[in-house]
């Protein structure tokens, strides 16, 4: 175990932890916005897969990472529009329709990949962006300031989303709609418009998360996300519906995964036993859910469709 407690390991775990946390963070932030307005989207994983494939294919064809990222976001927005029609306009049960969206994304991304690409071909995403001066600080620079531009954007979004939710009129409307849509409606807030907007934001971010995943890994394959979207949903609960909490959870997840990777590299755990350590985040989330369920309330109208006539 002593090999692990070295500066090099620490640098690796923190550096890769931040990198691995990015897709969780983006999808989690989106889901936070959606849930604050009372919409649960269990389809995040499917949207991420579609976004990831859209970005992968675009980068493969055009060699432009920026175009890939934009396509990923666009795919997310389209899925958001569909999800909005289903859950807001048609008032379908959110949990189950989310599973439908997940299956749709899982199947269609795989279908398109097999049909359009076939064999996995690597793509080049964004290179690492070394922030001037900061990146030159020994160790610290390596941990925090030598990442792809997408990583910085994701972490910058945390204060942006927090400000948006807590200090803008629209954010207030979002929270009002999530807590008591009828009251918000009576004060002239359009529940429909607010929820459509948050769903679009949430799914756009989920598509972006998928795109980031594909661009950072440089590949696509069937079920690329392997359940990351579901973990992002759990992070929202873990972070008690606050962007900063979601970031904490995403970092925890990222660091634990990076630690396991490092243990594997150092030969401290066998391949098989690393499965056991990979359980840790899930178990931690369950424990966190038990701990917060008594103290923190979820948005009161979460999963409740709003029907003006009732």
């Amino acid at each position: 175990m002593n090999e692990f407690f070295t500066v090099a390991s620490l640098v690796f775990v923190v550096g890769s932890g931040i990198r691995l946390a990015t897709p969780f963070l983006l999808a989690g932030l989106g889901e936070t916005i959606g849930q604050r307005s009372g919409v649960l989207n269990l389809g995040v994983d499917g949207v991420m897969l579609l976004g990831a494939f859209g970005a992968y294919w675009t980068i493969l064809e055009t060699r432009s990472p920026i175009a890939g990222i934009l396509v990923g976001i666009a795919v997310g927005l389209v899925m958001g529009l569909i999800y909005g029609v289903i859950t807001v306009s048609l008032r379908a049960e959110q949990g189950i329709s989310g599973i439908g969206i997940f299956l749709f994304g899982l199947g269609i991304s795989d279908l398109l990949f097999q049909k359009k690409v076939g064999t996995p071909m690597p793509i080049r995403g964004f290179g690492d962006l070394h922030l001037p001066l900061l990146a030159d600080i020994p160790k610290v620079g390596e941990m925090f300031f030598q990442h792809s531009v997408l990583v910085y954007i994701a972490f910058l979004l945390v204060p942006v989303v927090a400000f948006f939710l807590n200090h803008t009129t629209f954010g207030l409307n979002v929270r009002a709609v999530g807590e008591n849509p009828a009251a918000a409606d009576s004060l002239g807030v359009s529940v429909l418009r607010v929820r459509y907007t948050t769903i679009l934001l949430a799914n756009g971010l989920a598509g972006l998360a998928g795109a980031v995943l594909a661009a950072e890994l440089g590949i696509f394959q069937q079920n690329l996300t392997n359940g990351q979207g579901f973990i992002a949903i759990a992070l929202v609960y873990f972070g008690a519906w606050r962007p900063i909490g979601v970031m904490g959870g995403a970092l925890l997840f990222g660091m634990v995964s990076a630690t396991v990777l490092q243990w594997k590299t150092l030969g401290l755990v066998s391949g098989a036993a690393s499965s056991l350590t990979a359980m840790a985040p899930a178990v931690l989330t369950i424990l966190a859910l038990v701990a917060i369920s008594r103290t923190v309330g979820q948005p009161a109208a979460l999963t409740r469709p709003f029907d003006r006539g009732q």
């Binding site: 289903i86 049960e93 097999q114 049909k115 359940g227 899930a282």
Partner: protein, 438 residues
């Protein structure tokens, strides 16, 4: 107004005979009506049921069994568009699919085998959703059942076959039940949302399986050579007996169908089933009526998990290789049956008996998809995507139906009737605060 009263009486009577609770959209009529001696007039009630459904079909409401059928047709229409876009002939593709799934005796047998896990998971989903508990943990529960039953077979492999076969099946039931009881208890006693805990437990189960199949119970030969994550060939005494007829059908398929019958009895012929449905309808009302809401929630997830666990055990002991095997991915063992079972249960109107044909249909789609892939070179993954669309269409249909019936010139009254009749459905707003009292 008179018309509306009549309708409501009809609905109550329809749901008095349990079998009439047949796909009326996703959500079925559940009335808190005590049902003593419901078996007496089965034939009369079936006639009544047929009349009811025919009235639905011919009437402007477009309700009843039509909804899932329309949902499937719509999904396949979109699928046809995708096939066209990918340069394949949809008619040819679908023809190959149907022929591959239902074309001859062997195809039918393979379809039946493919539908077994969908049926069992679907039954589990019926039980949970009826109690307004959303069980997304079918995947993990299947794995837990497979693990426990495999451990039983590995440790008691010498027992005679008539003892060992039931024993491994019970192992599957118990394994799944444990994996279901955990989120049940967490929901009932700690207020943890079951959607999240079941998803997390899926992850735990997958990793536990990956660990066991690569380490403790890994095939010694594979450990030396191939490194495939699988067990050794399990004891021959644990092989599920084949059914006569020369096909690959084994007794597991019969067990699954039998479980559908048992689940029907549980839900509509026992007091526990009554409690499950009452809690699903309104946990507050159930509590005021003195029912143990918390224990009922735990029971719902336990039974639901047991069905999924049984599916996992049958997958292992009914497999061709007679091994517990995965491919390292999260759905390597289950083939996402834990999710697709939700589709079959919804399609079967959350009724265990109607889940039998429903799972046969979706099992056929899954199996026939391979034939379609061979015929028109479009990957079988298309069917997974279409399954997702079916779910989306079925859950959206209640509101769509209202919109359609209103636009058919029946006025607001029918819309209202539908609106009020919503109260007859299980309150499937799942994260609704569980009202368990102090």
């Amino acid at each position: 107004m008179a018309g509306s009263c009549h309708l409501r009486v009809g609905r109550c009577r329809a749901s008095e005979d349990g079998i009439a609770a047949i796909p009326a959209g996703v959500f079925l009529d559940l009335q808190i009506v005590d049902r003593v001696g419901g078996n007496r007039e089965t034939f009369a009630s079936m006639g009544r049921w047929l009349r009811e459904r025919l009235a639905y079909v011919t009437g402007p409401q477009m309700a009843g069994p039509l909804v899932p059928v329309v949902a499937v047709l719509a999904a396949f229409l979109i699928g046809a568009g995708m096939l066209l876009a990918l340069g394949a002939n949809p008619l040819e593709g679908y023809q190959a699919l149907l022929k591959g799934a239902f074309g001859d005796v062997d195809a039918l047998a393979d379809t039946a085998l493919k539908s077994m896990p969908l049926l069992l998971v679907g039954i589990g989903i019926c039980i949970a959703f009826r109690a307004s508990v959303i069980n997304i943990g079918g995947e993990g529960q299947m794995i837990a059942g497979a693990i426990l039953s495999t451990l039983v077979a590995l440790s008691c492999g010498d027992l005679p076959r008539p003892v060992l076969v039931p024993l491994v099946l019970v192992g599957g039931l118990v394994g799944g039940a444990i994996w279901g009881a955990i989120p049940g208890a967490l929901k009932a006693y700690s207020g943890v949302n079951e959607i999240l805990s079941t998803i997390m437990l899926n992850i735990v189960a997958v990793q536990l399986m990956n660990f066991l199949l690569r380490d403790l119970i890994m095939d010694p030969y594979e450990k030396e050579h191939g490194r495939l994550p699988q067990t050794q060939r399990l004891s021959e005494n644990s092989d599920l007996p084949l059914l006569p007829g020369g096909t690959r059908l084994h007794i597991g398929v019969l067990v699954a169908v039998g479980m559908a019958g048992l689940a029907y009895v549980l839900l509509w012929r026992t007091s526990l089933g009554y409690r499950l449905r009452a809690v699903g309808h309104s946990s507050a009302a159930a509590r005021y009526a003195g029912m143990p809401v918390k224990r009922t929630i735990v029971a719902a997830l336990t039974f639901s998990g047991a069905m999924c666990g049984l599916a996992g055990a049958i997958l292992v002991f009914g497999s061709e290789s007679h091994r517990f095997v995965t491919d390292g991915s999260s759905v390597g063992f289950t083939g996402s049956a834990g999710f697709n079972g939700i589709v079959t249960a919804l399609f079967g109107g959350l009724h265990p008996l109607w889940t039998i044909p429903s799972s046969f249909f979706f099992g056929g789609l899954q199996f026939g998809a391979n034939a379609m892939q061979r015929a028109v070179q479009v990957p079988a993954a298309l069917i997974v995507g279409l399954n997702g669309l079916v779910v989306v269409f079925v859950v959206s249909s209640d509101r769509l139906r209202r919109v359609v019936s209103e636009s058919w010139g029946q006025g607001r009254a029918i819309g209202r009737e539908r609106a009020t009749s919503r109260s007859g459905e299980p309150a499937l707003a799942m994260s609704e605060e569980l009202d368990c009292g102090p």
